[in-house]
Symmetry: C2
Subunit: 374 residues, 2 copies
């Protein structure tokens, strides 16, 4: 059925191109459905099989309504037009790329969220989110398989004088056999995001559940906490000081996890990875603390140079990834150099994606296939 | 310090009343602070020591901005005025009642959330929320005590052909002694809310952590799931059919919890409670399934009549509560009648609160003090 509608959409698209070839006006398939990230019962925004997004905002007395979502990832935008019923309507000028996108509305000069959608923490604020169905969305779909849990923990942090929050993914088998212990991946979000991002935007738990159900990976625990510990005023990354977060992660969170969860509490069974700024943190902390982690992963988050890593016998894996619209050559070249220096290094490039969550969902899947295997 | 500022505020208030007695214009204490439920780094909305709320919304070209929050709970509202800097500002016309309140903005006729605040699911949408510091807020404060976890689970539901979400509070000691098993409270949200409400708005986990740290209660598990199973279109309560939710709860969720958590899996160690519509569900399901639950709790959610309950030997406790601005006499009279009929019934009236979460936070605390004690 879905295949059929894609073919139909393609035919419509092609016939449209033919009919209106001179004006370059494609036919927009009339198969819009509410986005899967809409609030319960909300009809708008809607996405069609081509990836166009249709908006409808109620603001009868507004002077202007502009949606930040437009072509080319977060660039551009879509101005809405006032309809006869007093609502504001509009369609993106082209199909959006596959996967998750943040966006917001600018209404009469003020920034607000679309009341139709769920909100996701990005850009240091809770933003509207939309999901463009992807050709490979099956790997993060909610399926009828055994599901692991995502546990909110509050762990004591002396260095920041508070109880800090983290989320812990435990695989479906966790706790069934009281003697079984699991390796752990510490997984960081990007700048302006928080510890909710990998579950909410990334579907990290569903990616793991599906890989485990297919027997493709050995189950492991994932721990996700807030990485902008010193960034109270959300300054730039130039003056980022890793020390406060490194202290929270290495001296407070890891001991708490090892004391309270069934982990294999040694360096050989501990990984660190992160996206974007979280990759930068991973790079710095793994180099500062080689005795803590054996498995390193940078997801659109920089590169390792072979000379930065002193002892290649302590490193089990270096995984480096990005979207094909980012810096794929840099990623590939870095991995070639690491391999030449004797490291077990793997690159992954997500096709037709950029600095967004579809790149990182795919990267986590590829990483999970490699982690803790020897 | 806090005591002092309350006295100061009172003095300011009284002196204001005296000075401007003829115009009834109280002095508003100039000690506004960002609400504790603001998004990180956001200065507005702000609350002062008297409970006044000050708003600031950026929408330079808007024609009108009105905040739904006003005196008398959710009634009334606060129109904002355009300031010289292009923002919209305003203060509630009086102090708000203690505790949590939902609200939203109406901007040029459209309903949006305040971009300064976190969002909470109520009224079938994610709404802005604000917290008015309460004189008794210590019992749900985040403290340096051992914390339990809030686990998101996805449990299989054949009757609704999907994996459904629930949140499970496990006490701090959970899992430490592999042999220890815990009683369970199934706790329901109100109409238009969902399974996130008791943790986000209610702070159920912190209430439990604090009571356990003080040694006042025996630790138990709390399970919270979505109770509007048949209400896809969010219709009224008049046509509410309990069957779909009762099936999910009794035939699917309870067996899953008993199979996957360290519970004492019998009727004597199982409670059901709920607020508002969740109380209505509790009332119906406990009467339909007397073999499943022994402990019943209605929080601003109706009453039991003695003649409705066939066998008083199976019921360990009936707890009925509400806010003092709701129906306290009805609650008290119901409990008197239940006691006269031989039931262990307890009433609780939350002072100076209405059909809002401060009533339910206090009710949960009072209920927890009684549960599973014999």
């Amino acid at each position: 059925m879905k295949q059929y509608s894609i073919v139909l959409a393609l035919l419509l698209f092609l016939s449209g191109t033919w009919c209106f070839g001179q004006t370059n006006q494609p036919v927009i398939a009339d198969d819009f459905k509410p986005s899967t990230l809409n609030q319960p019962g909300k009809e708008f925004p809607q996405v069609n099989s081509q990836g166009y997004v249709r908006f409808r905002i109620e603001a009868p007395h507004a002077q202007s309504v502009v949606v930040s979502l437009g072509l080319g990832g977060t660039k551009g935008g879509t101005p809405l037009a006032k309809a006869e019923d007093g609502s504001w309507k509009g369609i993106t000028s082209g199909p959006m790329e596959e996967g998750f996108h943040y966006y917001h509305l600018t209404i009469d000069g003020g920034v607000f969220n679309d009341p139709g959608t769920l909100n996701f923490y990005g850009s240091t604020r809770w933003e509207s989110g939309i999901e463009i169905p992807a050709h490979d969305q099956d790997f993060y779909a909610l399926k009828d398989v055994p599901h692991g849990n995502v546990q909110q923990i509050l762990f004591p942090s002396k260095s920041t004088s508070t109880s800090r929050r983290a989320f812990v993914y435990t695989p479906p088998t966790y706790g069934k056999d009281k003697k079984q212990r699991y390796p752990v991946l510490y997984l960081q979000h990007g700048w302006g995001e928080d510890e909710t991002a990998w579950s909410n935007q990334g579907h990290a738990n569903l990616i793991m559940d599906n890989l485990i159900a297919e027997g493709k990976i050995k189950p492991f625990i994932i721990v996700m906490t807030y990485g902008m510990t010193n960034e109270i005023k959300f300054g730039g990354l130039r003056n980022f000081d890793i020390t406060p977060f490194q202290t929270v992660l290495v001296d407070e969170l890891i001991p708490y996890i090892d004391a309270n969860f069934s982990t294999i509490a040694d360096q050989k069974h501990r990984a660190m990875g992160g996206l974007s700024m979280g990759g930068m943190e991973t790079h710095t902390i793994t180099l500062n603390k080689p005795e803590v982690f054996s498995w390193y992963a940078l997801l659109s988050g920089g590169l390792y140079k072979p000379e930065e890593i002193k002892d290649n016998s302590k490193v089990k894996l270096i995984f480096i990834s990005c979207g094909s619209f980012e810096n794929p050559d840099g990623v590939k070249n870095s991995v070639v150099a690491l391999k030449a220096a004797g490291f077990n290094a793997v690159s992954f490039v997500s096709e037709n994606t950029r600095h967004e969550f579809q790149t990182w969902r795919r990267s986590l899947k590829e990483l999970a296939l490699l982690l803790f295997k020897e």
